[in-house]
């Protein structure tokens, strides 16, 4: 009975996760610093959203993902934007867009969501991808020193 309960806990833990995190420890840069600027500088700022719109860009942000465990398998890889991040007062205050320089898909995501960036067979033990990030912020909810930690998850397909 105790063993059964234990197994149920393990199963529940696995079900709560959307996918397996991919190890990106081999990425060339572990920390990238950028600054935010006002998105609109003209005088036609008619709404709080426009007047508070800011953007930070990170060109050529490189990720090296350890996919060695999945070589030969069909899988989907997602870019995950965390729900919470230090320096962001509300999840509604951030949106991330990216363009890619390799095989990954361009896209966008909000905090607490993930977006598909790769769908296919994993061919290499390590996937190297570079993204051009645009991080859109609402100044009402932004505090300097915001720490954004994108991560990747993989779902192995049957």
């Amino acid at each position: 009975m105790r063993a059964l309960a234990f197994l149920l806990i393990i199963v529940a833990s696995q079900g709560a996760l959307s996918g397996e995190k991919l190890d990106d420890a081999g990425s060339p840069r572990s920390r990238v610093d950028t600054t935010v600027r006002w998105l609109h500088t003209n005088e036609g700022l008619t709404t709080p959203e426009l007047i508070n719109a800011m953007v930070a860009t990170v060109p050529n942000l490189e990720f090296r993902l350890d996919t060695s465990r999945y070589v030969g398998k069909k899988a989907r890889i997602y870019l995950v934007v965390p729900d919470f991040m230090p320096g962001l007062r509300s999840p509604s205050g951030l949106r991330v867009e990216w363009k890619t320089r390799g095989a990954f898909l361009a896209g966008s995501a909000l905090p607490g969501t993930r977006a598909l960036v790769y769908d296919g067979t994993i061919k290499l033990p390590s996937m190297h991808e570079a993204l051009d990030l645009s991080i859109y912020l609402d100044a009402r909810y932004f505090e300097r020193g915001l720490r954004f930690e994108p991560r990747f998850e993989i779902d192995v397909l049957p």
Partner: protein, 193 residues
């Protein structure tokens, strides 16, 4: 008893191994520093033009306290589209200010006017305390007179916001001055410490 403990230990190890699959290292952090706060101010006409306000008191009513309304040159009260898309009434001066900074309502912008100087004509002078204004549009600046201070506060507002008012300047006409063409200049300062 020993066997039971042993099995439980093994299960814990298995659980740790399973959880370990989803706890891979996280390596990339983007740290976003704060952008500069931004303030913008318009007093009178746009495009760097210095607006003028002219007063022409009549000799017959000089010093009587009969208010003398100022007249402005062109565009002193033009629209500030799109939020303030209607021009001020004739002979009004538009004052528009915008202050932006993260996080909402954490910083205060203050608009001050320096009226410590005088209007002069040769060796004669008229202090700015002999002038005031009536606010004809907008609520952020109340009708008042110049104090003669270098730091007279006209309004404050919190970030991020954009405000605008229309002011009609007037000469209080409570003192008789020697005739002449008197000129002087006011300076408005917007700050958001």
């Amino acid at each position: 008893m020993t066997d039971s403990r042993s099995r439980f230990t093994l299960r814990l190890m298995a659980a740790a191994a399973l959880l370990g699959l989803t706890a891979s290292a996280h390596a990339v952090t983007v740290v976003i520093g704060g952008g500069a706060a931004e303030i913008a101010l318009r007093v009178g006409a746009t495009a760097g033009t210095i607006s003028t306000v002219t007063f022409a008191p009549a000799a017959a009513t000089a010093g009587t306290g009969a208010l003398v309304l100022g007249t402005t040159n062109a565009a002193a009260g033009s629209a500030q589209a799109p939020n303030f898309g209607t021009a001020c009434a004739a002979n009004n001066v538009r004052i528009w200010a915008r202050a932006r900074a993260p996080v909402a309502a954490t910083r205060t912008a203050t608009l001050q006017v320096n009226s410590s100087g005088n209007l002069t004509s040769g060796g004669n002078s008229i202090p700015f305390t002999d002038f005031g204004w009536v606010t004809s549009a907008g609520t952020e600046i109340a009708s008042a007179n110049f104090s003669g201070s270098a730091t007279q506060t006209l309004m404050t507002f919190q970030n991020s916001n954009e405000v605008s008012v229309c002011l009609r300047f007037q000469f209080l006409n409570t003192t008789i001055y020697p005739s002449g063409a008197y000129t002087g200049q006011l300076t408005f300062n917007l700050a958001m410490p």
